[in-house]
């Protein structure tokens, strides 16, 4: 069953700025879908349309089976939303805000209080629930915002850059909670600039650029499209004349700097690492450093658009293995 179905979605702002230009996508029930793209690509505009905050100027979007333009109230009953800036009243306590959210979503008072009690504990804010939100850290505010989005037990959860600006431990806490929610059956649509976030969380990734869907698929499939993993081989100084020949047995070789650094595409994947090491050893070549480099979603974006994703805080490559000797 489809939780989100989008066909030719468009949004043109006054002045002719086309932020979203005909997006098609479908998100299955119980899926985590990451919408990845650089700043200004159209991620937030798309989320605002899917959550009824912004009216599409073209195309059609169904969320939980309801048209976002024609059945906005029905959509709102089925979705939970945590937007980029956690919009929280600093004068209210976490628990008061939870109860306010419960009331806004039509829960009876006793039920709202029960859910608020449970959710502040679930997002790890039980110890601070009676403190004013103005005293919360950024991570606490995001967790509260996430909890508030869950108060009416939505079918589909939209998270707009849920971990932007958070420290690694707060980011990990949000990821854990997203996984737990998904395990319980909630469909999650999240936007992010972080490759690692999409890689870690998403069943499928859609990459948007300049308002258009650049590419879509599972992280593994997308990366496989870009190519095989390659091995960065750094040899110790010395007679390395025959190194290129040895490495060429395993795949395409790109010689690097000063005759000590080589890149070899592993035709046999990661399973070729041990044979490469043995071959180099048998050829009397001493390895200073060996890194297995897997293709990343940034490589996928680069291959599709010719540009790197901005705002990414990762290193740009996933080093699955790093061997150093000497």
């Amino acid at each position: 069953m489809t939780a989100i179905e989008v066909q030719g979605l468009e949004r043109e702002f006054k002045g002719g700025v086309k932020a979203v230009q005909g997006i098609d996508l479908a998100v299955g029930e119980g899926e985590i879908y990451a919408f990845l793209g650089p700043n200004g690509a159209g991620k937030t505009t798309t989320v605002r349309m899917l959550t009824t905050l912004l009216r599409p100027t073209g195309g059609r979007a169904l969320v939980a089976g309801h048209d976002v333009a024609k059945e906005a109230a029905a959509v709102r009953r089925q979705i939970g939303v945590a937007l980029q800036e956690a919009a929280l009243d600093p004068l209210m306590s976490g628990h008061e805000l939870m109860r306010l959210q419960a009331t806004l979503h039509g829960l009876p008072r006793a039920e709202g209080r029960r859910r608020a009690d449970a959710l502040v504990e679930r997002v790890g804010l039980g110890y601070a629930k009676d403190r004013r939100v103005g005293t919360y850290s950024g991570g606490m505010r995001r967790r509260l915002d996430l909890g508030m989005a869950l108060v009416h037990e939505p079918r589909v959860l939209f998270l707009d850059e849920p971990t932007t600006g958070l420290d690694p431990s707060s980011r990990a806490a949000i990821w854990d909670e997203v996984r737990r929610l998904n395990d319980e059956g909630t469909t999650v649509f999240l936007t992010t600039q972080y490759l690692e976030e999409a890689d870690q969380l998403a069943d499928r990734v859609g990459i948007i650029d300049d308002g258009r869907m650049a590419i879509e698929g599972t992280p593994a499939a997308l990366k496989a499209q870009v190519g095989q993993p390659h091995l960065d081989v750094c040899l110790t100084d010395g007679a390395n004349d025959h190194a290129e020949g040895v490495l060429a047995r395993f795949g395409e070789v790109r010689p690097g700097i000063e005759g000590v650094h080589f890149q070899v595409t592993l035709a046999g994947g990661a399973g070729d690492i041990a044979p490469v090491v043995r071959a180099l050893d048998e050829a009397g070549l001493a390895v200073a450093q060996l890194n297995l480099v897997n293709p990343t979603l940034d490589d996928v974006f680069l291959a599709e658009t010719g540009r790197h994703l901005e705002g990414d805080q990762d290193t740009g490559e996933v080093a699955a293995l790093s061997l150093e000797s000497g």
Binding site: L53, A74, L104, L107, R109
Partner: protein
């Protein structure tokens, strides 16, 4: 939860939030008390002798001007609701309200009625200062009518300024919100009876519907309440509230278009 219960709960929860703001940041009410109080004291000092002119229905200028200060206090409290709405839009809080499945009129009613809470504090302060400085006691009916009319005026002001907030969506619109309320009250019979006004001000005051409201609030302080002195104010306020509420509701409905 039934639809009516949901709407009432929404209104209640938004009014409670406004009450929170008043109780947790009491200092924010000071400008709303100071401005109309200083206006009342200053005008009484400068123009107190005007009541010796034929045409004034009272010999006490502070009794004449106190109702205007009550209206200003109510109008500015309503305008503060508009300014706060812009702040909520800019901070993203308004998105939270907009994402709720609650009917839009209930959301708006909660915001508009919360202006009443904001108005009560400055109105009480202005009334106390005026009475302490010698304004006539209007009697319980006169006081209740004055409070009812002024609070309704604050709701009109809130609806108008929330409508502006939803259209401009920026704090830059705040002066327009405050100025429109100031002008609406000023260009009436606020300083002197209609017969004593001259030129364009007399013309404007005679067609400005807020004049009826000022006279309705004022009646108990200067000559006693009557049905004839009350119903024009009620009709004007009902019409203004209907128009401004529709204006704000239209702004809410077109949000995101």
């Amino acid at each position: 939860m039934s639809a009516l219960a949901l709407e009432l709960s929404t209104i209640g929860v938004l009014m409670r939030r406004a009450l929170n703001e008043i109780l947790r940041v009491p200092g924010a009410a000071i400008p709303g008390i100071l401005a109309p109080s200083l206006f009342m004291l200053g005008l009484t000092g400068a123009f107190g002798a005007l009541t010796e002119l034929t045409g004034f229905s009272t010999e006490s200028y502070i009794s004449f001007i106190l109702p205007v200060s009550l209206m200003q206090a109510a109008g500015f409290a309503g305008a503060a609701t508009g300014v706060n709405t812009v702040r909520d839009i800019e901070l993203g809080w308004f998105d939270r309200l907009y994402l709720a499945p609650t009917p839009r009129p209930a959301l708006l009613a909660g915001i508009v009625l919360s202006a009443g809470f904001r108005a009560l504090l400055p109105m009480t302060a202005v009334l106390a200062i005026g009475l302490l400085l010698g304004a006539h006691w209007p009697g319980v009916p006169g006081l209740l009518i004055a409070i009812l009319l002024a609070l309704t005026f604050s709701a009109v002001s809130a609806s108008w300024t929330v409508g502006l907030a939803l259209r401009f969506r920026t704090q830059a619109a705040a002066p327009l919100m405050q100025a429109s309320m100031f002008i609406a009250v000023l260009f009436t019979t606020s300083y002197a009876p209609l017969e004593l006004l001259t030129g364009w001000l007399q013309t404007v005051a005679s067609i400005n519907p807020v004049t009826q409201v000022v006279e309705g609030v004022r009646q108990g302080f200067v000559e006693g309440v009557s049905f004839a002195g009350t119903w024009p104010a009620l009709v004007v306020l009902a019409v203004l509230l209907g128009l401004t509420f529709a204006f704000a509701l239209r702004g809410l409905a077109t949000t995101g278009r």
